[in-house]
């Protein structure tokens, strides 16, 4: 991302956002000699408390320093919060990894994503301490940046997105684990239904082709490349129930082949993997 983006040129007085720190103002850009090297340093002063940080100009972009969002981006944040993308992952490791990335690299929209995901998750159960801290931190950064973007007091900036997260006159819904457990794409497809997808109507397959369909379907998986999910479903329907189990049967094949190869080389690998799976299940 940073390789493709145009270089960020900073001048004294510019307002920037230092990831995880908040809105800062550039107070000076000056050359200094450090350990025999002459480097240009950008001095940033955090607006909130006046804390000062000096960053080598060459590393400004790599660190993730960016210009403060504008009113258009603030409108995008509101549109995102208003959208029905209220899916949160229950895998805490994946969630933690993606949240850390969003906080540092995601811009103002990344902050909104963290706030929304954790707010949605809190409708299922109270957030653990670490995530509660992350939520507070993301909320604080979002408030300060939106206040700067909209040129409004922080009070209005916070109410701007809380009006969407906590609609007036309505309590937040209680959620169930089932709502989170299913992947979003799967549930969307189910909601649309096969008739609307029009799978039966468009594809007409000759009976000869349909009969021989189950065998070549397994071929791409053996090569290691996963077969596209829609194709077997589309082809299987007109060919009646015979072709349907083909992808299911073919799945265990690579696993069975892989196990004997792994066992003699790494004897401890298999029990470890077994232990990990129930752990993940419990935390869910």
């Amino acid at each position: 991302m940073s390789d493709l983006a145009p270089p960020l040129k900073l001048a004294v007085g510019d307002r920037v956002v230092y990831p995880n720190q908040g809105v800062c103002r550039v107070t000076s850009v000056e050359a200094k000699e450090v350990a025999g090297q002459r480097l240009v340093f950008v001095t940033l002063r955090r607006e909130e408390d006046g804390a000062v940080v000096m960053v080598p100009e060459a590393k400004v972009q790599a660190i993730g320093v960016r210009k403060v969002a504008g009113p258009e981006e603030a409108a995008q944040v509101v549109a995102f919060l208003r959208s029905d993308s209220d899916h949160a992952t229950l895998d805490w490791k994946a969630r933690s990894r993606s949240n850390v990335e969003r906080m540092s690299q995601g811009g103002v929209l990344g902050l909104a994503e963290v706030v929304k995901e954790l707010a949605v998750l809190s409708e299922l159960r109270p957030l653990p301490t670490k995530e509660r801290e992350l939520y507070d931190s993301a909320r604080h950064l979002l408030v300060t940046e939106l206040a700067a973007a909209l040129n409004a007091p922080p009070c209005d900036a916070e109410d701007t997105f809380d009006l969407v997260l906590f609609p007036p006159g309505r309590e937040r819904p209680k959620r169930t684990v089932e709502e989170f457990a299913r992947p979003r794409d799967e549930s969307d497809l189910d909601a649309i239904g096969d008739d609307l997808l029009d799978l039966d109507a468009d594809i007409e397959i000759a009976p000869e082709e349909a009969a021989g369909d189950a065998e070549p379907a397994a071929a791409p998986e053996e090569d290691g490349a996963p077969a596209p999910a829609a194709k077997p479903k589309a082809k299987a329907k007109p060919a009646a129930a015979k072709a349907k189990p083909a992808p299911k049967k073919s799945k265990p094949k690579p696993a069975q082949k892989a196990k004997p190869a792994a066992k003699p080389a790494k004897g401890k690998a298999a029990p470890k993997a077994k232990k990990q799976s129930p752990k993940g299940g419990k935390k869910r």
Binding site: R82, P126, H140, C155, D156, L163, V164, E171
Partner: protein, 170 residues
């Protein structure tokens, strides 16, 4: 120290009770700093931010906070996400907060609700943000559970309490 200033006539006994409630909630001293008048040229419904910033300020130390009380209504704010019902205003990390008692017939009878609004706005002055816990005073004030008066104590949730104690006493 929290200084309570009334911008309209309020019953002194009820304001004293409010001060006691705020003292219990924040663990810092709270007293009534007197009556003051609304700046000239301002008419109800007030723009909350303009009133809080223009209202006369009593003698304060650097870490004091001032809470203005008015009985007249505040104007709802038009934000990019909609119209926000306005029960008060706070200067985040600043000294000034304002609440309205419009819609409250008897201040003493509705002291819990008014106290909750006061705690909410003063919490913002100590850099507390809105909370996810409906029992916490920092829960958004336009939600139905915020006004569920008797069932909920005037208090913060555990996390906000820890933050509040750290910030208010530092």
């Amino acid at each position: 120290m929290i200084r309570v200033v009334t911008l309209d006539p309020h019953e002194p006994a009820a304001v004293q009770k409010l001060c006691r409630l705020l003292y219990q909630a924040f663990g810092v001293g709270c007293d009534m700093a007197g009556d003051m008048s609304v700046p000239a040229g301002m008419t109800a419904p007030f723009d909350a931010e303009a009133l809080a910033m223009a209202a006369p300020i009593p003698k304060l130390y650097a870490d004091d906070r001032v809470l203005y009380l008015t009985s007249r209504p505040l104007k709802d704010r038009a934000l990019i996400s909609g119209t926000a019902p306005t029960h008060g205003f706070a200067q985040y990390g600043g000294q000034r907060a304002l609440i309205t008692t419009a819609g409250v017939k008897d201040l003493e009878a509705s002291l819990k609700l008014v106290g909750r609004h006061a705690m909410h706005q003063l919490g913002h002055c100590w850099d507390l943000h809105h909370c996810l816990d409906p029992r916490c005073a920092m829960y958004p004030p336009w939600t139905p559970s915020f006004g569920a008066n008797d069932a909920i104590f005037d208090t913060f949730c555990r996390e906000k309490s820890e933050q509040k104690i750290r910030l208010a006493k530092s």
